[in-house]
Amino acid sequence: MAEIDRDKLLDIYTRTMKVNRTDEKFRELLMQGKVAVMYYCVRGQELVSAAAMAALEPQDYVVCTYRGQGEQTAKGIPMEKWWGECLGKATGTCKGKGGTMHITDPDTGIMVTTGVVGSGIPIANGLAMASQNNGDGRVTLVSFGDGAANIGGFHEAMNMAQLYKLPVVFLCQNNRYGEHTAYADHTDSPTIAERAAGYGMKGVRVDGNDVNAVYPAVKEAVDRARAGEGPTLVEAMCYRMMGHFFGSDFSYMPPEHIEEMKKEDPLPKLRKVMLERQFTEEELDKIVADIDAEIDAAVQHALDAPLPDTDEIYKDVLEEVN
């Protein structure tokens, strides 16, 4: 595999740090009691989403889950709108009616964020089917967890996508847990990627903490999809460094395993790659500082923003009846 070019690497770094700084900020606000909402941490998974989003074109579609902060911010939802939605404000992507688990922003290509495990997978097929029907050249990427690979819809959708050669990429972020249940306690097949073979599909498993592994794999899957060669199942191995959602119990996560996995933390690894490729410490720090400033401004904007009008509960139910 050819080396990732420097511009693309910088792009991935920027997206990764945007995801990470957003995650840090969210936890800080929760800890300070400034906001009280459900938030599903992405610490440890930043690189997977960032590299995947960097492999897509702006017009491509994404379907993600409640743990979709990474895809959403890395794909480029404007920060003010993103924070607005998470804080339930009228200025949010969905006027405060979706919330952290249901972020939609078609302008950015984020078409559905679902709170129902695995449900986005069949929907991604439909987006891809529309692209196949109308020849718009778009690719759809759907992100989901290892737990979701045991939902019936996953299997139905894999089979259908391969049957029709849909332009879709299935990205399984294997963070080793489905809520409190460890991978080995919910799945006996050694990998999720190998399941692809059962559908006649291409499946690959990559180290989600290594930019040189995850980006090329997703890029190749995206290219194949766009070329009409059909779907790919990419399983990116990563680690959910926190509990299932912010503040939730994580006593079931063995401390020695957490310590071991900390050594795999994708962020220092990415920084090392960046330095090896002659980016300077100053350059990289400046990127983070700029992102922090942007996030601070967006958070303030969201905190100051108005709440949605109460009569919003009657709106957007059915067009014809509004």
Binding site: Y61, V63, G92, T93, C94, K95, G96, K97, G98, H102, T104, D105, P106, M111, V112, T114, V116, S119, I121, P122, I123, A124, N125, G126, L127, A128, M129, A130, S131, Q132, N133, N134, T140, G152, G153, E156, A157, N159, M160, L163, Y164, E312, K315, D316, V317, L318, E319, E320, V321
Partner: protein
Amino acid sequence: MAEITMTQALNLAIDEAMAEDDGVFCLGEDVSAKQGGGVFKVTAGLTEKYGEHRVRATPISETAIVGAAVGAALAGQRPIAEIMLMNFVGVCMDQIVNHAAKLRFMSGGQTPCPIVIRTTTGVGVGFGGQHSDMLEAWFAHVAGIHVVTPSNAADARGLMRSAIDANDPVIFIENILCYGLKAEDPGKGYRVPLGKAAVAKEGSDISLITYGRTVLDALEVAGELEKEGISVEVIDLRTIAPYDEETVLASVNKTGRALTLHEAVRPFGTGAEIAANIQEKCWDKLKGPVRRIGGTFSAVPFASHLEQAWIPTKEEIVGQIKASVGKD
């Protein structure tokens, strides 16, 4: 004007919509020509005209079918998904209830979900417990979905066009026993608006509110009672949810009596909601309690005499009407 069956009516409506809009496509099990043009032949002939991409035969994967319809709708297309029999909606309920119905709302109006889910059902064909249920109340209980069922071929043509036009999900219930019903073809472009009931027969003594196949029973009973001097107004809801409250209330305000009738089981059925609403809003005009008739609260039996006994009978309808108007 030629006569058409309900099957032909639905086929013509879909054909017309597909011809006018490239974004309209069908998907479902056995729907394409290769499989014989659909189990009930509603999509017959469409593959030959529009190709296999627009009449997609799918694997037996209800969740994937409706999920794909949802996704395609989010991308601006107008899919018509077929769930072969209504009992199988249980398999894909998540896609309908959590996604199709809610994506418009949860996205603040950004992602409407214009899909039609066609499904068939009906008691009286000997299909037994897992192929006969009328489950419209399941959907009527969820905000964000239209639930539609035609009682005649002309309405079928018009309602299907409106369902495809609608910018929201529509559950379109086709009663198997109605497929062969004939009517004069209302012609190209004919539409029956969603949410508008029909006064299938005017009357002055009691309002009989129903939909789907039981409209036929209602009309027959109304015709017989006319001879005995009881004037029954038959309301065919056509759209079950959200239903045409205005027409229903106006009728009950006029007649002062009401009876709801459906094939679906009586407890927690749509008739209960309509009856309660009438009770609340027409209280001062009511001359007696609102009555309800529905299917027996059990699985639909197989043996034909049991199945017939399960369905609301004409005698029961007559009995309830007579009791209501005080002539029993």
